[in-house]
Each structure stands twice: as structure tokens, then as C-alpha cells.
């Protein structure tokens, strides 16, 4: 009946509320689904009047770091992936999100919020693929990681 409140990662839960609010804001006011993959990808087929909001959203993401730093210290960031694997990861993420029309934000947050069967299917698939990849890289082919 009672949840162990100490076990809740509050910063994650509150951060999620903010992400949900940001997505809702964009949908209510601009009528757009927030998803960087679609936003950035959309820049490649430029239509007049459709560029500004994409650029300002991305600027907002960068600006958030500046704002955060004004008040707090950035949390610890650990990246152990080498450049080759980072480039491979970026390449797969770019291609995959364009082909599959979305990422964690577009499908995972926006899509599931509106109960889109496509987004639910996509989220299940990319989660499973992520679990599998981490399993293989961390527990099977451990020599791949430098």
C-alpha cells in the first residue's frame, strides 16, 4: 500500500515532469510534436516559415545549460565511449530515428502520451534493442569497449 518514498529518484521524476511540460507547451501553443530527430531532420527539407521554431527549440536546449550553470553546478557526466563508437552510435541514432520517425521524445514521450499504437510499438522495439546492445557490449563482447 505504501510506497517506499526514499526509493523514488525525485530528481528523475521531477525532471520528467518538466520534460512533459515542455512537450505539452510545444503541442498546445505551436501544434508541434517535440522531437529533436524530426526537428533537426526536418531542417534538411526546408520549408519557409518552418525553420524558426526548430532552431529556437534547439537553442533553448543549449540555453538551458547556461541557465542551469547560473544557479547550480552541472551534475556529473561520464562518457566512457570512445570516438569511433560515439560516431557509430550517432550514425545509427540519426538514421534510425529518421527511418522510424522518432526517438525517445517523439515516440517515447509524445507518442505514448497520446496512446499512439505506432509509438508504443516503436518504444518497445528501441528499448529492447537498447537492452540487447548494452547486454552484448557489456557482458558478452566486452573486448569491444576500450
Amino acid at each position: 500500500m505504501f510506497m517506499n518514498l526514499d526509493a523514488v529518484p525525485w530528481n528523475a521524476a521531477v525532471g520528467g515532469l518538466m520534460i512533459g511540460a515542455a512537450v505539452t507547451l510545444l503541442l498546445l501553443f505551436n501544434g508541434c510534436v517535440a522531437g529533436v530527430s524530426g526537428m533537426v531532420g526536418g531542417l534538411y527539407r526546408v520549408q519557409k516559415g518552418d525553420i524558426g521554431w526548430r532552431v529556437t527549440f534547439i537553442l533553448g536546449l543549449i540555453l538551458s545549460v547556461v541557465i542551469w550553470r547560473f544557479f547550480f553546478v552541472l551534475p556529473e557526466i561520464v562518457i566512457e565511449t570512445n570516438y569511433t563508437m560515439l560516431a557509430l552510435a550517432g550514425f545509427l541514432v540519426g538514421y534510425g530515428t529518421r527511418l522510424g520517425s522518432g526517438c525517445t521524445s517523439g515516440h517515447g514521450v509524445c507518442g505514448i502520451s497520446r496512446r499512439s499504437p505506432r509509438s508504443i510499438a516503436a518504444t518497445i522495439v528501441f528499448m529492447l534493442a537498447g537492452f540487447m546492445t548494452v547486454y552484448l557490449l557489456r557482458h558478452v563482447f566486452t573486448f569491444w569497449l576500450g
Binding site: 518538466m18 515542455a22 531532420g41 529556437t56 565511449t81 550517432g90 522510424g100 505506432r118
Partner: protein, 136 residues
């Protein structure tokens, strides 16, 4: 106004990514590492984001947004091979580095060279995708 709301949304989104810890790829990878030292953070982030999103999902019934632009909700409903294959490829890439597009941009904002390497490759493959689409 549309640009301002997009900027505001980006800022709130970015602050959420930093606060939630999702800016740190190690935490994302720890979530994906189900047989390792599992970290539930990502589940809480997605859960609460979806909770807020769902509360306002009614809004998409409107054909127009508050600022008058038409609501661009994807009209496709078919679960096809492209969707599944694309999500598979994305998930594999996500599993390699623990980075997805939004946090990548925020990470780049912190001055991370790693994030720039990731983003450059991401933009390149998106460009290639667009080229291949155009030639079809």
C-alpha cells in the same frame, strides 16, 4: 511568438534533462543494463513525462494550436517495417553510447567534444537518409 514558445519549451526540456540526470549517458546506460547494476531513473523520467503529456493529450483534439497554426500530429497509424526497423537501428545506437538526440544537444551545450562527435555523425546519417529518400 511561435519561436518564443519553442525557445521556452527547449529551455524547460533541457533543464528537465539536466535535473533528471538524463544528460549523463552513464545513467541511461545503467538503465539499459538490465543484467548489471540497474538504475530505474529513466523509467521515472518517462513515466512522469508521459503522465503530464497524457493529462494534456485531449488538446490534440483541437485542430488548431493556441497560436493558430494547425496541429501537426502524425496521421499515419500503420505499424510498418520502416517504423520497426528504424526503431531497432535507433535502439542499437542508443545502447552503444546511452545518448539520444535531445540529451546530445544539451551535452553539446556543456562543451562536450564527445557530444559533438555524436551529433556530427547523427547529422551526417540524417543527411544521407534524406538523400536516399529524395532519390527514390
Amino acid at each position: 511568438m511561435i519561436n518564443f514558445m519553442a525557445l521556452l519549451s527547449g529551455v524547460v526540456f533541457g533543464l528537465g534533462i539536466i535535473l533528471s540526470g538524463m544528460v549523463n549517458p552513464a545513467i541511461v546506460l545503467a538503465f539499459l543494463d538490465i543484467t548489471g547494476n540497474w538504475d530505474s531513473s529513466l523509467l521515472w523520467v518517462m513515466g512522469s513525462a508521459v503522465a503530464v503529456g497524457s493529462a494534456f493529450a485531449l488538446a490534440i483534439k483541437h485542430k488548431e494550436s493556441y497560436l493558430g497554426s494547425s496541429t501537426q500530429i502524425p496521421a499515419v497509424t500503420k505499424i510498418d517495417r520502416r517504423l520497426l526497423l528504424g526503431s531497432l537501428v535507433f535502439g542499437a545506437g542508443w545502447g552503444i553510447a546511452g545518448i539520444c538526440p535531445e540529451p546530445a544537444v544539451v551535452l553539446a551545450g556543456t562543451g562536450s567534444i564527445d557530444a559533438l562527435v555524436f551529433l556530427t555523425a547523427m547529422l551526417l546519417s540524417m543527411g544521407i537518409y534524406q538523400k536516399l529518400q529524395g532519390s527514390e
